[in-house]
Amino acid sequence: MTTLAQRATKTTNPPKLAKSKIVPLVVTIISATAIVALTYVLPPFRNYQLATIGAYLCVTAGLTVLTGLNGQLSLGHGALMATGAYTLALWQEKFNLLLPGIVVAIAVTTLAGAVIGLAAARLRGPYLAGLTLAVAVVVPSITSTFDETFNSDQGLSVALDPPPGVIPVEQWQAWTCWAAALLTVLLLAYVIRGRFGRDMRAVRDDETAAKLAGVSVARTQVLAFVISSACAGLAGALFAVLAQSVSPGAFPLTLSLFLVMAIVIGGLGRLSGALIGAFLLVALPSAAQSIAEDAGSQHLEGNLALTVFGVVLVLVMLAAPGGLASLRIPRMNRKQTRINRKQKGQE
């Protein structure tokens, strides 16, 4: 069995408890309560980081469903986030109504996702990866082409009203992001448990069998892509709110790669893995930053995180199928994999 497939099929048969329809709701409510409580305790910078984790969780949750459950590897979700972010920025410029703005951002990104998804529906493996990589590399240059609207490299600032009442900005940010994240995760949890979730997994595991069972493969692929794009659009809009600005530099190719890394390390196909990934996306660069500051090197900033992410990703892919979320490989499987490799004459 393949590494990515091994990592993803751990979620083919969710444990009995998770099959219950109530559990996601309960988990969500408990989490919401915990988050709110947490925001009263944490200092402002940590709240900001907490908010960022929430924003990332929106996109990692969608991406892990797309790649883990449906088997489509997208290297372009950073560009989709950019789409949501810029849409929000432009909307706020005109209307300054945040909630509708977020909805519009999601809608526009969903549309973009539909276009890419339709183009990609019949692509597999490296062809799909290559196409989405091209999207990730090319889309930022659109800001330079239509530079009156998008203001090229300098980007746009996001007009925002101050939060209501006496809540500090960071706390409000954390609430907003986590409200969005928990809602996203809840909806995805139901999708995963439902018929569409089964269809997605069926197409991932064996397309021909799925077709024979009556699953419309193209429709499943496009819909999965669309759903994950909506999540990315939401995350992008939230990032625009957090940073209060958008620019092409905020959505480089490495962001798309980071997202893939996050869900692979966290554990493909699992929403808990998406959470781990989102956490890593904030914690690792932050840790790298402190190290860089201590070392007094400007070069280290950002690049150390890149390197560490890369190393962890490579090591995880080689050594631990299943990601950090399920780091228990039965001894039997390891031996079997080596025997299979020896047979193929690879050892």
Partner: protein
């Protein structure tokens, strides 16, 4: 005379359940030994275990006194063992000539292909043709010719008659017998076509469910009706 190939207590297979159990077998110099048995009896597995294409869990394989256990697959030819696998393994994207050259690349100086072309005039006519353009019989000749380029001492041949017309099968069997007589080549011949195999073999080994069910001179085996019924289906 110590045998050229000496297999003792061989146990091998894929994964948890071994396919071969405790197999003893030997091939002498200039001897043709036929390995017979029903599908799934472990004949192909036996050849693969000898050339180390699959892991051996117990027992030993000695060739000319050397333990083959730690010999890597790609070094088998250097010891003088040529394995023509199931399906022949003709590289379809390469020409006939390239396939043959491939057989001798490891040897310095590079062996000439003239002898092989003499042996197989049909191939000489198709030198520049790609592997996928050849018929089944031509592919079998190519596979054997390729194995012979580096003048091996032992040929492991897996079901050469598969998919071939009786006339061609006869030609190939005749060729193997001539080679044995002329050059002292030893052959371990896995075959479903029992009659053809026994017609040229010195000895026959019958495998059943991974174990050696019988091991006798070819003539005796051919005449033993009970044995034939029990293991060979006729």
């Amino acid at each position: 005379m110590t045998a050229l190939l000496e297999i003792t207590g061989l146990t091998a297979g894929y994964g948890a359940a071994p396919v071969l159990h405790d197999v003893d077998l030997s091939v002498g110099e200039g001897q043709i030994v036929a390995v017979l048995g029903a599908n799934g009896a472990g004949k192909t597995t036996l050849l693969r275990a000898i050339s180390n294409t699959l892991p051996v869990t117990a027992g030993s394989t000695r060739f000319d006194g050397i333990d083959l256990k730690s010999v890597k697959v790609e070094r088998m030819v250097r010891h003088g063992i040529a394995h023509v696998p199931e399906g022949r393994g003709v590289v379809t994207e390469l020409t006939v000539d390239e396939n043959l050259r491939l057989g001798g690349l490891w040897r310095k100086p590079k062996p000439s292909l003239d002898e092989v072309y003499e042996l197989f005039p049909a191939l000489a006519n198709r030198r520049g043709h790609l592997g996928h353009q050849l018929s089944g019989g031509e592919r079998q000749m190519l596979a054997i010719g390729r194995a012979l380029v580096a003048t091996p001492r032992l040929l492991l041949l897996d079901e050469p008659s598969l998919g071939l017309a009786p006339k061609i099968t006869a030609q190939i069997m005749g060729l193997l017998r001539d080679l044995r007589d002329r050059t002292g080549l030893s052959v371990l011949l896995v075959e479903q076509n029992v009659r053809s195999a026994l017609s040229i073999a010195d000895e026959g080994v019958v495998l059943n469910l991974g174990r050696v069910a019988a091991r006798q001179k070819a003539g005796t085996l051919a005449d033993d009706a009970d044995l034939r019924h029990a293991y060979l289906g006729f």
